[in-house]
């Protein structure tokens, strides 16, 4: 039965990707991409990767889609059909695929117990020793936050980089050219500065839902030790709550609630919180990001360290997502003002 589900999902996945390749309407392609991500998340659940599935669903199907839609609203949604195609891309991707297919020949059977990956001493320690060593039931969190905490610091930095990158790129003053067409086409109304003032239903529902979304974000943030979740997923959920607010009540209202400058500050603060833990452990005489030293009892120290860095991750991700959203949504606003003049 599990095999059946698997094969069914895989077929859907392939059909979805082929659809992405062939449709000319970018709006449809984006929606299909979101669907592909969602199917991928389901496959991840099947493969026991619940944390990854959670993230893929929140990021691939959620945030990415929002980003694509925001861009489409600015640049228009139709791909120009093209006549003849050069054969090189096809050959190149066939070559890469061929090499990979060759590589799979000697790969161990999927799911068997005696693959090098499962037999490795690394895996053994992560699975069997980490619950006592770190004291956190969710092994993904232990590995993510402690054993490979520095990778996660890098990941936070990547998100921070994306945040400032979008701000840097999209804050450039827009020089209008004469031959510019009006971007966007009717089916996508961009985020209006004043929101949608006449729609009673979304207003009521948003007011009803947003507290729950934020609450759920907090739950995911602090429950990451025991179940799927953690700072990253929580950050995305938090940001989603605020983005929903802005979609319904208008960007200006959100900017009043959370000023752009404030977002920039907490964006930096998140990275500093994370790095700060490392600096403190260094000042106490241990290596960077060694949590054992944070408290007299190593396990308590690990708990404290993981708690703080997860907060750092959550803060950075929320701020970065908001930065990016401000960048894209604010852009259409500015364009509208330009066009109006």
């Amino acid at each position: 039965m599990e095999e059946f589900t698997d094969v069914f999902l895989m077929v859907l996945l392939i059909v979805g990707t082929l659809g992405v390749l062939y449709v000319n309407n970018l709006f449809v392609a984006t929606m299909l991409l979101g669907a592909v991500s969602l199917i991928m998340a389901l496959i991840f659940v099947n493969l026991d990767a619940v944390d990854v599935a959670f993230t893929e669903a929140a990021v691939g199907a959620g945030i990415s889609t929002v980003l694509y839609l925001g861009t489409l609203a600015l640049v228009g949604a139709n791909e120009k059909p093209r006549g003849k195609r050069s054969p090189i891309p096809l050959l190149a991707s066939l070559l890469v695929g061929g090499i990979l297919a060759y590589a799979t020949l000697d790969l161990p059977k999927i799911g068997s117990v005696d693959t090098p990956v499962q037999m490795s001493e690394v895996t053994e320690r992560y699975v069997y020793t980490s619950p006592e060593e770190i004291g956190v039931p969710n092994m993904v969190t232990s590995v993510l936050a402690s054993y490979r905490g520095f990778d996660t610091f890098g990941e936070v930095t990547v998100i921070f980089t994306a945040g400032i990158a979008v701000l840097l790129i999209l804050r450039q003053l827009h020089r209008r050219r004469e031959d510019e067409e009006t971007p966007g086409n009717p089916p996508f109304q961009k985020v209006k500065a004043e929101g949608s003032p006449h729609d009673l239903v979304p207003h009521v529902v948003a007011k009803l839902l947003i507290p729950f979304i934020l609450l759920f974000g907090l739950y995911v943030q602090f429950h990451g030790d025991f179940g799927p979740g953690g700072g990253f997923q929580a950050g995305v959920i938090f940001a989603a709550g605020f983005i929903l607010y802005s979609l319904v009540f208008g960007l200006d209202n959100l900017k009043k609630l959370i000023p752009v400058h404030f977002v920039e500050i907490i964006l930096a603060a998140g990275v500093l919180i994370y790095g700060g833990v490392g600096v403190v452990s260094m000042l106490k005489g241990a290596n960077f990001l060694d949590y054992n030293i944070l408290s007299a009892d190593p396990i308590a120290g690990q708990h404290l360290g993981i708690l703080i860095i997860e907060i750092g991750v959550g803060v950075t991700v929320t701020a970065a997502m908001l930065c990016i959203f401000y960048g894209f949504a604010g852009r259409s606003d500015e364009l509208e003002k330009n066009n109006g003049e």
């Binding site: 799979t104 790969l107 090098p116 402690s146 490979r148 990778d151 890098g154 930095t157 990275v271």
Partner: protein
């Protein structure tokens, strides 16, 4: 002091990494610049410290989070990584010293805090790639570097809108390259169950014959080659370098591709082992062919460029060809040539791009036709360019000569037709270098300046760093014990069975 030193490996990375968010918080132009310069200098200082220490005492391993490898992430400082770190942070500091005036002209002023934050992130990312002993950590830091490079290159849009598209092209290529590396690491992980490079290396020989490992080698090499702008994958580099802001071009020309060369050496020598790389798979002939094609064809292409920055960018691709050939020769001499050339080309190219930046600052163009008579209008700058150009050609007394000399020796060491052919090819390529440098010099000195052009040098804050690099070129060309010495140490460490 001792306690501080024991943390030096991480400090060299974390200082710029955590300096980035701090710099992003500041408004204005001067403060972020000062922060970035100071942090970069601090990082440089720690790198020198590490380099000296490693060459006297031996490799250092630093366990992040206090978890011993292979469970945690390990930082490994050996003669090679310390040397490359020193080059990167040194170049970065030199470029930053120069940056203050130049950047005001080329990037909009209200975002400079974030601009320098991105710069520091690129620096930290490159340092991280160099020092890490963990295969996946390479990918993470590679992406930090790449993301910040894309945005830094796109900042050139204020002077030329084509910077945006160049950045996008680089983004697509760079992401494909990084993902290839990710696939390679994944395949190796599937066969070894570990991510630690030393650990993979120790298990490598036993599994070297399996198909996933062979494919992994291919993916890693191609992934790095894309990042390195090796010959067929170089398309992103000329555009990126041409349209980026001057200091960014200077910074990346001296560092970004050098890190990729480092990665290539690290993968081939430390991870796969030379026996496998050059015995089992035909890496020598592949890399050598591509390298030779690169330095011959790209030198020719450089001759026909009408934009000085683009000319120098193509010359960079050609020079990277030399480094590839040095690796491919699979001898200690070749490796020394490669590693020295990393250092030499870094200072020569950075110096040249800084000079071009100074010209751009005054003239507002880097098209060669607009440079007529610069020799009279900006004599000091032009002279610096000429001296840098000599270094690029590889005239004796410049470091370019030293590394080519070693490369020729390594080629002749083979004692076969390939070696002689290689030597001749290098001579021809140097001839082309003479031509493209002369083309520029001719326009600069022997074409009359347009009417009404004023004679003015760039500000002192830009001229001094330029000349620091020019003097460094000649210093390291004459007093070669530093660069050659460290390169020899690194090469013998790699060949001497680190594996």
């Amino acid at each position: 002091m001792n306690a501080l030193f024991s943390q030096a490996p991480i400090l060299a990375i974390v200082i710029p990494l955590m300096g980035a968010p701090i710099s992003a918080l500041f408004r204005g132009a001067v403060l972020p610049w000062a922060i970035a310069t100071m942090l970069s200098a601090a990082s440089f200082w720690f790198s020198i410290d590490l380099l000296v220490h490693v060459n006297t005492v031996g490799p250092i391993s630093y366990e992040l989070g206090g978890w011993e490898p292979p469970w945690g992430i390990e930082y490994v400082v050996d003669p090679l990584s310390a040397f490359v770190m020193m080059v990167i942070s040194g170049i970065s500091t030199g470029v930053l010293l120069y940056a203050r005036e130049s950047i005001l002209k080329e990037v909009s002023t209200d975002r400079l805090g974030m601009f320098f934050a991105a710069y520091l992130l690129a620096l930290a990312g490159m340092m991280g790639i160099t020092i890490t002993g963990d295969a996946f950590n390479i990918f993470v830091f590679l992406e930090i570097t790449s993301l910040s490079s894309y945005v830094l290159i796109s900042m050139g849009e204020r002077t030329d809108r084509r910077a945006l598209f160049a950045a996008f092209q680089y983004l697509v290529m760079g992401t494909i390259g990084a993902t290839f590396i990710l696939i390679g690491v994944g395949l190796l992980y599937a066969m070894t169950g570990t991510l630690n490079i030393a650990d993979i290396a120790s298990k490598f020989d036993a599994i070297a014959h399996t198909t996933p490992v062979r494919a992994a080698v291919g993916f890693l090499i191609v992934g790095v080659a894309i990042k390195l702008a090796m010959f067929p994958f170089h398309i992103w580099l000329p555009n990126g370098y041409t349209y980026a802001p001057s200091i960014i071009t200077a910074f990346f020309a001296g560092t970004a591709t050098k890190v990729s060369v480092y990665l290539m050496i690290r993968f081939i020598y430390t991870m796969f082992g030379e026996d496998f790389s050059f015995g089992e798979i035909p890496l020598t002939s592949m890399l050598m062919t591509l390298g030779v094609i690169a330095f011959l064809s790209m030198s020719v292409v450089a001759i026909f460029q009408d934009n000085l920055k683009r000319l120098l960018a193509y010359s960079s691709v050609a020079q990277l060809g030399y480094m590839t050939v040095g690796i491919a020769l699979a001898s200690e001499m070749g490796l020394i040539a490669s590693i020295t050339h990393v250092f030499n080309h870094a200072i020569v190219k950075t110096g040249l791009f800084l000079t071009v930046g100074a010209i751009f600052y005054m003239v507002g163009s880097t098209y060669i036709k607009d440079l007529a008579g610069i020799g009279q209008r900006m004599p000091i700058t032009s002279f610096a360019f000429v001296l840098g150009g000599l270094g690029l050609i590889g005239v004796p007394l410049t470091p370019g000569f030293v590394s080519k000399w070693y490369l020729v020796q390594a080629a002749l060491e083979r004692g076969d037709m390939v070696g002689y052919g290689l030597t001749i090819a290098m001579l021809i390529s140097s001839l082309f270098a003479v031509i493209y440098v002369w083309r520029v010099v001719e326009v600069m000195y022997f074409r009359p300046a347009p009417e009404g052009a004023e004679c003015k040098e760039a500000p002192l804050s830009m001229m001094i760093p330029c000349w620091i690099f020019v003097i460094a070129i000649f210093y390291f060309g004459i007093e070669t014990s530093v660069n050659i010495g460290f390169a020899e140490a690194a090469a013998s460490f790699l060949m001497g069975g680190a594996k």
